[in-house]
């Protein structure tokens, strides 16, 4: 299957197979009007299978979201058809307004103005907890 190379834009590569849609949703890529391609289950020597997202526009990407969904993903910036920047992400220490706390007893469930903040509490197990009530985030 061929998907055209992009001239100016972003390629999110090395996404663990199956996570591209979650990343697409959390990055709000559905709101873009430029071409966006999700390529699933691409053969990869390193990973076996991987997902790729190609965005045909130089939009700002929230690195924290990418790192939260898949810390092994890489973000490649393409300009005039050339790779000009490559970022490895890792897990962010803090996530602000990316996911919401599901604890109905949390103060964020009733006060709309409060930022939803999650803090990385266990890097090994990839556990994020709500800053306010310490409820574990659903990854």
């Amino acid at each position: 299957m061929n998907v055209d190379s992009i001239m100016n834009g972003i390629v999110i590569d090395h996404i663990t197979a199956g996570l591209a849609f979650r990343l697409y949703n959390l990055l709000d890529l559905d709101k873009l009007d430029c071409p966006v391609a999700i390529i699933k289950n691409v053969n990869s020597r390193k990973m076996g299978k991987k997902d790729i997202i190609k965005i045909d526009s130089e939009i700002p990407i929230n690195f924290d979201v990418v790192g939260f969904v898949d810390p092994n993903a890489t973000i490649n910036v393409i300009k005039d058809g050339v790779l000009v920047d490559k970022h490895s992400i890792g897990m962010p220490q803090k996530l602000t307004n990316v996911i919401k706390c599901k604890n109905p007893r949390c103060i964020t469930s009733v006060e709309q103005e409060i930022e939803h903040v999650f803090v990385l509490t266990d890097k090994q197990e990839k556990v994020y907890r709500c800053l306010y009530c310490e409820t574990k985030a659903d990854i």
Partner: protein, 306 residues
């Protein structure tokens, strides 16, 4: 601005200093009777709590200060939809320190980020209740002479019991501690408490459903109530509420200097007959709570003035 939201906001050294202050208050109450003259404590209780609110109020009065506040959300501007942040900013204009109880977890933390005066978490849902832990620590200190090398049993609702999690957190910082967790299967300590606190601090612990079997090992027995308000399902509550009832026959094999604690209120988990046993310390705990709240108010007001 220094506030107290979680017991781990205080270092063991700060807790030691506060215990020292509390003991000095007990020995020399007159010395402290005007320490907070001209100061106001705002008790913002968005849900009812007789004991904690009165303890804070008594603490402030005994320090020579005054108290303003409300004891339920309906009599506050929260009933009109005011945010916790706005309430905290407003009260900062009237008082010198806030004690806040709120049914929503994290509300006192939000208040502390918006107030210009210290905020004390007086209980936020099933989350934290650090001043109860301070009361517990002073009780253990006064009954056992210190914190090291103790075997502490926690019994009852160890899943939703915020006082249990806080006390485990606080005790984990002392040496030679052993923990015995006694609960029905459904109310076991959450795995993150075991992993992040007990295992992370190399604290030996055992889990059991049998209280009598472990009784002889214990230096401290911390009983808890199965709390109706923490259950979404009434059936589960009714099934589990009578899991453990401490009575005199169960204490037959206990150490002579066992310290029996309970954050209160109790329903039926400690038989009234146990009250006269010299090992019953739960009403001393209530008194100790007032002294530690006095020590805490003094500490936070002093730091706010700096």
């Amino acid at each position: 601005m220094k506030s107290l939201i979680d017991i781990i906001d205080l270092t063991p050294q700060e807790i030691d200093q506060m215990i020292e202050t509390a003991c000095d208050i007990i020995d020399n109450p007159k010395k402290y009777s005007e320490k907070c003259k001209g100061k106001k404590l705002a008790t913002l209780f968005f849900e009812p709590s007789t004991r904690t609110r009165l303890s804070f109020e008594a603490a402030m009065y005994e320090l020579g200060g005054n108290v303003i506040g409300f004891s339920e959300a309906n009599s506050s501007s929260a009933a009109k939809g005011e945010s916790v942040a706005d309430t905290a900013k407003t009260i900062s204009c009237y008082a010198d320190i806030i004690a806040m109880r709120h049914p929503k977890e994290g509300a006192p933390f939000v208040a502390s980020k918006n107030a210009s005066i210290p905020v004390i978490n007086a209980g936020d849902g099933g989350h934290n209740h650090p001043t109860q832990t301070l009361a517990d620590l002073l009780t253990i200190y006064r009954e056992k002479g210190g914190f090291n090398n103790l075997t502490i049993g926690f019994c009852g609702d160890l899943k939703f019991g915020r006082t249990v999690h806080s006390l485990i957190n606080a005790m984990a910082r002392y040496s030679g501690i052993k923990v015995v967790l006694i609960s029905p299967e459904e109310l076991k300590v959450p795995s993150y408490v075991k992993k992040n606190v007990l295992k992370a601090n190399d604290i030996p612990y055992i889990q059991t459903t049998n209280l009598e079997e472990v009784m002889p090992q214990l230096d401290v027995l911390y009983m808890t109530r199965v709390q109706r308000e923490r259950f979404f399902n009434e059936e589960d509550y009714l099934r589990l509420k009578d899991s453990y009832i401490l009575d005199l026959p169960k204490l037959a094999n206990a150490k002579e200097d066992l310290c029996i604690m309970h954050p209160l209120p109790r329903v039926n988990e400690i038989s009234v007959a146990v009250d006269d046993d010299p090992r019953a310390c739960y009403f001393k705990q209530v008194l100790n709570g007032k002294y530690m709240r006095m020590a805490l108010i003094l500490k936070l007001l002093e730091e706010a003035e700096k």
